[in-house]
């Protein structure tokens, strides 16, 4: 009798502690490549999110709850991502974080939409920190999706504005990865150049397979023989690093205007050849003047993860905005958080960040920077780092692009 009572008590207690434990943690699933050619891209973002979560937890968590981020390796494969998404949902994740690969993001948006329609009360939110195909906040926009990175048209607008100021550029070569994102970049480049600099000749518009090319020498050779004055590329991860490796080898001095020149290893691949030649447009660089706290964060990141550099500033923005939204809503449930995120504005290290309510696209200042050997923080363990180009600051208002999104909100 006594034993039975104790058993019941124990069972009841364990159920109680179990529910208490789950209520105390906000589970976020980080679904991105953690191995393979794009592994470094995923891992450096994952470590950024982890550090951001640690800081939030150390400061008392979100509304008193702890944030827990778990990594799920999707190998940049949309099909694999859906398997990992299911795994994450089974593990109780309510927030999905992904960024590498618009093909993956597209699959996840559709899957999350479907899941939320079928499981009212158990909705999940998708925080996209790097998949920048414009469609996700235009025709494909979803209430469940929030993008914390400037999309391809916004970044391209920054690049084409820069080209507009440089009358020496007459011929432009576009090279990119052959999938939805690379195609979006090429389309944006052609359209915007035609508007801003109709005199520019596009001497090449090339797409190569994603993550398959080992040797970019034939491509750089083509770029050289086309006589291009500048190259525009949306390449990221290994495709960025290898493209620049081949470009450095070929010895040409064509400037490369990139979205993701900050991909790990790219600056190291170029070495001295990158100075004044490799450009990137991003939401922040470590060599911008910043607060002592931001410098401390940059140094803490490097100390904790010496193989990477502080690059994913937007990961910290994502977490800061999530925390602010949850506190504003007084809840960590996805729907109130989503409503609170709409129109939310935070002061981040390099300016403001506002989550536009109409399409869930973050609005923030953008910076065009170039590789330089005269910087406070080098990257890839070299003395070369990113330096703001003169006139390279694009204000939040100037970076804004219109949207066609007709947001459907849950009633």
């Amino acid at each position: 009798m006594n034993i039975k009572k104790t058993a019941i008590l124990a069972a009841a207690l364990s159920v109680f502690t179990l529910t208490a434990a789950t209520a105390d943690t906000i589970k976020m699933a980080f679904i991105d490549p953690l191995s393979g050619p794009f592994g470094p891209s995923g891992e450096s973002a994952y470590t950024s999110f982890q550090l951001a979560a640690e800081h939030i937890n150390a400061a008392g968590g979100v509304n008193g709850d702890k944030v827990e981020i778990t990594g799920y390796d999707n190998k940049v494969n949309p099909k694999e991502s859906l398997v990992q998404l299911q795994k994450a949902l089974d593990d109780g994740a309510r927030y999905i974080v992904q960024g590498n690969g618009s093909s993956v993001a597209s699959a996840l948006i559709k899957a999350v939409n479907k899941y939320n329609a079928r499981n009212p009360g158990h909705e999940v939110l998708f925080f996209n920190y790097a998949a920048v195909t414009p469609a996700f906040t235009n025709e494909m926009c979803s209430f469940w999706h929030f993008r914390f990175d400037a999309h391809a048209d916004m970044k391209m607008a920054a690049i084409t504005d820069w080209i507009k100021q440089n009358p020496d550029i007459h011929k432009v070569y576009i090279i990119g990865q052959d999938y939805v994102f690379g195609q979006a970049v090429a389309k944006a480049a052609v359209e915007q150049l035609a508007k801003k600099r109709p005199d520019i000749k596009i001497v090449g518009n090339e797409l190569h397979p994603l993550g398959k090319v080992k040797d970019f020498t034939p491509y750089t050779q083509k770029i050289i023989s086309s006589g291009a004055d500048a190259v525009i590329t949306g390449n990221w991860g290994a495709d960025m690093q290898l493209l620049m490796k081949a470009a450095a080898e070929s010895g040409s001095s064509v400037p490369y205007l990139t979205f993701y020149g900050g991909s790990k290893g790219t600056v190291a691949a170029l070495g001295a050849a990158g100075v004044g030649r490799l450009y990137q447009v991003s939401e922040g660089i470590t060599n911008l003047p910043a607060s002592p706290e931001q410098y401390a964060l940059i140094e803490e990141y490097k100390k904790r993860f010496p193989q990477y550099d502080y690059y994913y500033h937007r990961a910290f923005n994502t977490m800061a905005m999530f925390k602010a939204a949850a506190e504003k809503a007084g809840s960590v449930e996805p729907i109130p958080v989503a409503h609170a995120l709409e129109g939310l504005s935070i002061d981040q290290a390099y300016g403001k960040a506002i989550m536009r309510a109409s399409d869930h696209q973050v609005q923030q200042p953008l910076y065009i920077s170039v590789v330089s050997d005269d910087v406070k923080y080098g990257v890839d363990d070299t003395k070369y780092g990113w330096k703001l180009v003169p006139g390279g600051t694009i204000s939040l208002e100037a970076a804004e692009q219109p949207t066609t999104c007709k947001m459907k909100r849950p009633t």
Partner: protein, 310 residues
């Protein structure tokens, strides 16, 4: 013109690299009649070993010792693994090498991490050697060319001009007869397997720093090596050589061609507005070797220079 010249140079270098990889595979096949699925894994091991040795000492020591180390591992795999599995037939051998490929990949992931290591071109060779039409050809690529040529000549001399080569050739086609003549056939098999793996390792040493050294390099290189071996004719060294160069040139030349399907098949009424017509030859570059594989299997199943069918 300059595009063609450059594509030729790069194509030959890439082709010779492919040959370095596939020569071992084709030798092992003609010897044991088994396709070694783990062959590209030895290529990967070569690159990782070279990275480690170069970090501790110099690139030149890595160039010598990494392939030897890989060859020893290969020999051990043959001696203690394949030879025992051999009794159970070809399917068992095939499955064994298949499993081995996964095993090596996982071990590499545990030891070196899941992402790429920073294996770099030695600084002494990191300068532009010649300029062709305004583009630099790095000294390291020329060095690759020389290493590949030296390996090619060395292998040819070993097989065709030495007594050991004579015995190996005999053991490939008539192992029992060679055994009856008093030669240690299992030892020959082990040696050939080891040499084949060492050649793959050497390819890894010289290619790992110009491409990427990461745990997925074996999986990415694997299919193309099989294409070379099948196109050349399984078991034929000459065939592998021709196929390697053919595929190296094909891939490099294709990238340089801007023409689309609409330009080529325009006379059939294909326009560039259509889905098929807008495909360009350059975007097909990576697919071409596999297209070649399919065509060869249909029209010449024994391969370009092979003697037996699959």
């Amino acid at each position: 013109m300059e595009t063609i010249v450059f594509a030729l140079v790069n194509g030959v270098i890439y082709g010779l690299l492919l040959f370095m990889l596939s020569s071992g595979l084709t030798l092992i096949f003609s010897m044991m009649g088994v396709l070694n699925f783990a062959h590209a894994s030895f290529y990967m091991l070569g690159a990782f070993f070279a990275y480690t040795i170069m970090g501790a000492t110099s690139f030149w020591l890595a160039l010598i010792f990494a392939p030897i180390l890989v060859g020893l591992i290969g020999a051990a795999v043959e001696r203690y693994g394949l030879r025992r599995v051999h009794v159970n037939g070809h399917v068992a051998e095939l499955l064994f090498t298949f499993g081995l490929a996964y095993l090596i990949e996982e071990i590499v992931k545990i030891v070196y991490g899941k992402t790429a290591v920073n294996y770099r071109v030695p600084s002494i060779l990191d300068f532009p050697a010649v300029q062709i039409y305004g583009a630099d050809l790095p000294a390291y690529r020329i060095f690759m060319l020389f290493v590949a040529m030296a390996m090619l000549i060395g292998l040819w001399l070993l097989l065709r001009r030495t007594r050991a080569g004579l015995i190996i050739q005999a053991a490939l086609s008539h192992p029992h007869m060679v055994g009856h003549l008093g030669h240690n056939v299992p030892l020959i098999f082990m040696t050939v397997f080891g040499i084949g793996c060492a050649l793959a390792g050497l390819a890894g040493v010289i290619a790992g720093n110009i491409f990427v050294t990461d745990p997925s390099m074996a999986v990415q290189m694997g299919p193309i090596v099989f294409v070379v071996v099948v196109v050349g004719g399984i078991g034929s060294l000459e065939g592998a050589f021709v196929a390697s160069l053919l595929i190296g040139l094909l891939q490099n030349l294709a990238v340089g061609i801007n023409a689309s399907f609409a330009d080529i098949f325009g006379f059939l009424g294909l326009t560039s507005a259509s889905e098929v017509g807008s495909i360009t030859v350059s975007s097909l570059g990576p697919v071409l070797p596999f297209l070649l594989l399919v065509l060869i299997l249909i029209f010449r199943p024994q391969g370009l220079m092979g003697e037996r069918e699959l």
